[in-house]
């Protein structure tokens, strides 16, 4: 009653203009949202801190556990694994931290220890968790699961991974490619036969890295993908033929220096010059003028690697005087071939530039 005497809300509210009511309601709405976000910020902060604490604890526990598991001969493995699973693998966070930590350990171990870690991963029931992740349906859990499977070399039926080779998401495709590669005993790039989506340069970098650092078998015959439908796969194969010094495929590369795609032509010229195929110059110099700027630059680079000043001079006449990029590239190479005339070439160029020749 006392309150009502001083402030009658109903009559106060009904006497307000509609615009004032609207403003007050908006202010209330914004304030509630702002407070909500503020609480969310504090909650995220506390949640992340607690999570980090928990991660740290789990991390320390795991380091002790993994060190004992791997290096302590008196460690009762079966009993301790059971104990760890019951006591420290109860929450999703504990499981995730454990997976991450085992992956991290695995990265730095080789041979017997790595195999033991893979066995431990299975005994802790983490494979089932990963397989659940794989089936969960969202692209990022799928990618994460395939990543863990490939890192720990856990074999699952082929069809379970193959379906992701042409997934719409780059990340899922990349992880499934790396899985297929890392777990292969031979022909690690077999997945390329089933690939129908272009490989990005990013994916090519990771495939090459996995080939060099994870795959232990004999290098694949890269020429088998030279007639692949995807230009990116052809491009990758041409490059790999050069990187792996597969000189026996030089003849197969030759048609690609006349390919209709600039990218493929560029890659073919670049790879053949890396393979030091000196006959290449006779094939590309006469056609210099017919090419695009990108290919012309690459032809000049090939002459720089494989040729002489005489061969370079054959190109000189084919360069338009206003094509400055080509002229500069040409003169830079010429300076390399004729170091004693370096200054003269420079002065001549500056003079021509000055008078617009």
């Amino acid at each position: 009653m006392f309150y009502m005497y001083f402030f009658d809300f109903d009559s106060f509210w009904s006497e307000l203009l509609w615009i004032m009511k609207f403003n007050i309601l908006l202010s209330l709405f914004f304030t509630i949202f702002a407070i909500g976000f503020f609480i969310a910020i504090i909650w995220i902060r506390i949640y992340k801190n607690l999570r980090n604490e928990k991660k740290k604890e789990q991390h320390e526990l795991l380091i002790e556990f993994l060190n004992s598991f791997l290096f302590d001969e008196d460690f009762e493995k079966e009993k301790e694994i059971r104990k760890f699973k019951e006591e420290h693998l109860r929450s999703s966070l504990e499981i995730k931290v454990t997976i991450k930590e085992i992956l991290h350990f695995h990265e730095n171990l080789k041979g017997e220890s790595a195999r033991e870690l893979e066995a431990l991963f299975s005994k802790l029931g983490l494979v089932e968790y990963i397989l659940l992740d794989l089936k969960r349906g969202s692209w990022y859990t799928t990618a994460r699961a395939i990543n863990a499977l490939s890192e720990l070399c856990i074999v699952v039926p082929d069809h379970q991974i193959e379906i992701y080779l042409n997934d719409p998401r780059n990340e899922v495709r990349q992880q499934s490619q790396l899985y297929s590669l890392k777990l292969a005993n031979e022909n690690p790039l077999q997945f390329l036969n089933k690939t129908v989506r272009p490989l990005t340069t990013w994916q090519q970098i990771y495939i090459e890295n996995a080939l060099k650092n994870f795959y232990k078998g004999p290098p694949p015959d890269f020429s088998q993908w030279l007639d692949h439908e995807l230009l990116s796969v052809v491009e990758f194969s041409i490059r790999m033929i050069a990187r792996y010094n597969q000189f026996e495929h030089i003849q197969k590369l030759l048609p690609f220096i006349k390919h209709q795609s600039d990218i493929i032509r560029w890659e073919a010229i670049n790879s053949l010059s890396s393979l030091e195929y000196t006959e290449l110059l006779e094939l590309i110099i006469p056609d210099f003028k017919k090419n695009s700027r990108l290919i012309k630059l690459e032809i000049l680079e090939a002459v720089n690697k494989l040729g002489s000043h005489e061969e370079l001079k054959r190109i000189g006449d084919q360069i338009n005087t206003t094509d400055w990029e080509l002229r500069i590239k040409y003169l830079n190479i010429e300076q390399g071939f004729l170091p004693d005339k370096k200054e003269r070439i420079y002065s001549q160029f500056m003079l021509e530039k000055q008078f617009g020749i």
Binding site: L16, L17, I19, M20, N23, I24, L26, S27, F30, T31, F33, A34, F37, F38, A40, I41, I42, I44, R45, K48, W139, Y140, A143, R144, N147, N170, E171, Q175, P198, T200, T201, W202, Q203, Q204, I205, Y206, E208, N209, N213, R239, R243, W324, E325, R327, I328, L331, N332, Q335, K342, E343, Y346, F349, K353
Partner: protein, 478 residues
């Protein structure tokens, strides 16, 4: 007469209200889009292995272009920091834009530079180059210093573009502090895309008061001054909310001049940086986009939300006003130069959404706000203001502004959480509470003056003095 005035007042009030509501809705949409994009970005980048990248021969070589004008105080350290970037193949081109201090002498001495006759062509017209220097020390073989006549930042960058060797260029401010993996992250959009990527930009963060050692960020701290602290919030809003949202729909119109990567050939074909505008960074990207759109070539502009580059922001009101004045002129000039794109369906989303958004909500907003304040003063003098209505309206606007900043802070907490100390949260909340009444009017006024200066034909940057970043090692030596 009174009735006409009443009608006019009512119509004007409604127009202001409608405009305000549209802006608020725009902010709401950008917030939602940004949240989705940040979440996706974090999920996308769970499995990266930098070592694989660093060992790769497939990463394109990058030319890092850094214009320098009177940077003698820190230039030697800044260059040293650039030289230690994690990237397999890069060159650094420092363009001394006619400095009147001893920047060049310091560089020559520290890096054993000597003049070299290097062949180059002015693909883009620039001021005269006096000399090009290369180091005699093999450790600095990827360093080139160009000494040229003063022509401004855009001209210096164009000179760098003419001189540099590689096809991907990264334009940065020489005093920026880059994260070690900044280049690896910024190049990713170029390599992981089906379309032609013409540029990619990163998030800029405020370095004031942070601990910097040998050109590397050691500890993130909240700036001591209010002016710099508000800009932390502003940068959250601009990068984590605004640009992330535009990047989601691939219609970003601005890559910050302090840190952006470009396809050199496309830049040259577009004509390089425009030396006649003070907003050369925005103008270049708009021109590149326009050119690609007119050619009908599918293309993309990438954006990386990781904090990759830290820069010093104005610490004083005076410098801040000069900066915002310039930004306004730059925006207006860019929009004017490319006015043909506005509401032009030929340019699709760019013409129908991006440029109108910039016109109405970036350039016009401060002018409308200023007109609103004038309108309010006139009504006040005419005794047409109802104080209770005004107060409720003011409170609604104020709470919205606060909500907007708190949302941005939430995005930061959710994504990268760079400000670790709990006290920073409360300081930032306090800053957000004060911003609408202390900081915002100054920024609005600077924008109004920017337009006024533009009409007067002012075309200079104004003196952008810096206080310098905190470097405990250097301070100890002193």
């Amino acid at each position: 007469m009174g009735s006409i005035l009443n009608h006019f007042t009512e119509i004007a009030s409604w127009l202001f209200l409608i405009y305000g509501s549209i802006i608020c809705s725009g902010y709401l949409f950008t917030a939602i889009y940004s949240l989705i994009e940040i979440r996706d970005y974090k999920r996308r980048n769970n499995f990266e292995d930098d070592i694989a990248l660093l060992q790769s021969l497939n990463l394109p070589a990058i030319s890092i272009l850094a214009p320098a004008f009177n940077e003698g105080l820190n230039i030697v350290e800044n260059v040293r920091s650039l030289l230690t970037i994690n990237y397999p193949s890069f060159e650094i081109v420092i363009i001394n834009d006619g400095s009147s201090d001893n920047s060049l002498e310091l560089l020559i001495k520290e890096y054993d530079l000597e003049p070299k006759n290097i062949l180059y062509h002015n693909f883009i017209e620039t001021k005269e180059i006096k000399n090009i220097y290369k180091s005699t020390n093999k450790a600095f073989k990827n360093l080139t210093v160009v000494d040229k006549k003063n022509g401004g930042k855009a001209d210096a960058l164009n000179t760098g573009i003419n001189i540099c060797q590689h096809n991907v260029i990264c334009c940065i401010d020489v005093d920026c502090i880059l994260e070690n993996d900044a280049m690896l992250k910024l190049i990713k959009p170029f390599l992981n895309n089906g379309n032609k990527v013409i540029a990619s930009g990163g998030v800029i963060r405020v370095a004031n008061s942070c601990v910097i050692e040998d050109g590397r960020l050691i500890e993130v701290k909240l700036p001591d001054t209010f002016v710099a602290r508000v800009q932390v919030l502003e940068y959250f809003r601009a990068f984590l909310m605004g640009r992330m949202a535009w990047s989601r729909v691939d219609r970003l119109l601005l890559i910050s001049g302090a840190f952006g990567m470009f396809d050199k050939q496309i830049v040259i074909e577009a004509g390089g940086y425009n030396t006649n505008t003070v907003g050369e960074d925005m103008e270049l990207l708009v021109r590149m986009r326009r050119m690609m759109q007119e050619r009908g070539v599918p293309y993309t502009v990438g954006f990386v939300p990781d904090p990759l580059c830290w820069t010093e922001v104005p610490q004083t009101w005076e410098v801040l006003q000069r900066q915002r004045n310039r930004w306004t002129r730059g925006t207006a000039e860019t929009l004017w130069i490319h006015r043909k794109m506005m509401f032009n369906p030929k340019y699709k989303i760019l013409g129908m959404l991006s440029t109108p958004f910039w016109f109405f909500f970036e350039w016009l907003a401060p002018l409308i706000e200023f007109t609103g304040i004038l309108f309010f003063i006139v009504l006040l003098f005419m005794n047409q203001i109802s104080l209770p209505v005004f107060l409720t309206f003011f409170f609604a606007v104020y709470t919205f502004a606060f909500l907007f900043s708190v949302t941005a802070l939430f995005f930061e907490e959710y994504s990268f959480q760079q400000y670790k100390k709990p006290s920073y949260i409360f300081k930032l909340i306090g800053t957000a509470l004060l911003e609408p009444i202390i900081y915002h009017p100054v920024v609005m006024w600077s924008a109004v003056m920017g337009n006024f200066d533009l009409l007067r034909g002012k075309n200079s940057w104004g003196v952008m003095s810096r206080a310098g970043l905190s470097n405990p090692v250097k301070e100890k030596k002193k």
